[in-house]
Amino acid sequence: MVVRVQETGVDLEVELFGIPLRTPLIPASGTLSKEALDEVEGVYGAMLPKTTTPVARVGNPPPRVAETPAGMVNSIGLQNPGVERFLQDLEVFDLGIPLFVSVAGDTVAEFASLCEILSGVERISAVELNLSCPNVECGGLAFCAGASSVEELVVACRSIVGNKPILAKLTNEGVVENARAAEAAGADGLTVINTLPALTIDARTRKVLVRGGLSGPAIKPVALRAVYDVSGVVDVPVVGSGGVASGTDVAEFMLAGATAVQVGTTSFVRDPQEILAEFTAYLKESGLGASQLTGAVRSPDPGVPVPRPKPVHKSSRH
């Protein structure tokens, strides 16, 4: 990371609940497989594999993905091999950067048991609670469907996970209230936001194509609003997620209040190296270090504007 700063003259490092991240980028859980890891070398400040559950889940039947305007809807159903197998394979996700692990369960007890297991794995730096999954004890409503449910879950996990920081990952609905509840319950940070509930229809066959979660650039303004609003009412760091597609987007999330930023769907259609390069160029032009961006839109004096970058598109006169 020192190397990087020397290379580019730009300070990309941020600190997330005391953990230094060499860049503020983190892969969004469920969007980076082990097969794609070699493509992302040097991009991320922390690793975050797909959500793990107490036992293996086969996931939902296909079709699981559908394209939408500037986004996609997915319904994967948390397909994963279960925590035991996950930990056996954990090594492949060890890129020498902090390793965060996302967990989900059907009940508070399942979340807690996952946290207990992970608390004993030294290599894991932090745990992200995927609160968007349904709570079978509450009629299938998501854990983040209400502040009290968020609080109960975070309290249970906090007490058992030892000294590992907890990131509570929230959905958009009720995000401000839930953020307050999660912070009060001891969350060390908040990931904001997960996908938006959505549905696609195939007008030709007149059938539902995919009922699931919307992600991608389409949701960026919704996620930015959530990050801005949440970071305005909590003291713990906020990790932005939702539609990040460029280096400018990374800057926007940080300016809105994020300490780190997750890249999800866009990594399917773009080399995340490009996103980091753009973000680095933005910092260079602005003369700021990455960590100085966090929450800067709230500053009464936002400083000198960044010069408009020269457009990439070359004119073809005729």
Partner: protein
Amino acid sequence: MKFYRVNVEEREALGSYTLLRYRWNGPVEPGQFVMARTAGYPITLDPFLARPFSFYDHDGGVASFLFEVRGRGTALLDAASSIEVTAPLGKRFRIELGLGRAALLGGGIGVAPLKILGRHLDAMGVPHDVFLGFADAAASVVAKDFPGAEVATMDGAVGTRGTVLNASGALTNYGAIYSCGPNSMLAAVKLAAGKNSLCQLSVEERMGCGNGSCNGCVVPVHGGYVRSCIEGPVFDAEVLAW
């Protein structure tokens, strides 16, 4: 996912289909596919996802795919002079020597990977018959690029009337069967192939990423689902829970 910008070297209209050629020097194996899209700024939002296409052929540094215009993504590919492609993805058709004659069955646009597969079989000295099924005469134009192939069309305009299986007849005499086409056709081929031959099917499922990251493109196998972009798109028939 990393995309490479390439120029379209040639675009050939073949009846209902288009054959698109671009320069690609790395290795391309039969059965592999590519995610392709028109070049963006820096990405296109419309369409947002890239589209998967089987390689049609790869020859002298020029790769090609054959496609049918279905929606926005393929319509744009049918017009752009510069496109973006990934490196070749997925598992190839497995060729085993000593199994005797092979049958290649393609349905509609699913004939695409049989071209490069046939060339590889030829190169390895594996004798094979090619059977191609199409909806109609316009779709069947590409058959001219498969000399000696038996053709079937649903409307009977060209070759046998009916499906590719009407053209091929029983498959039990073949030691190896390779097929690509709609999943319903593949299920029929699997049934017709029986259990005694090597039977490899190239499946088609909606994809998000193409590099294993999204878990979107799964097909049912015994005990769950696997990603067709990583564990496939070519599967041994018996693996598939169809």
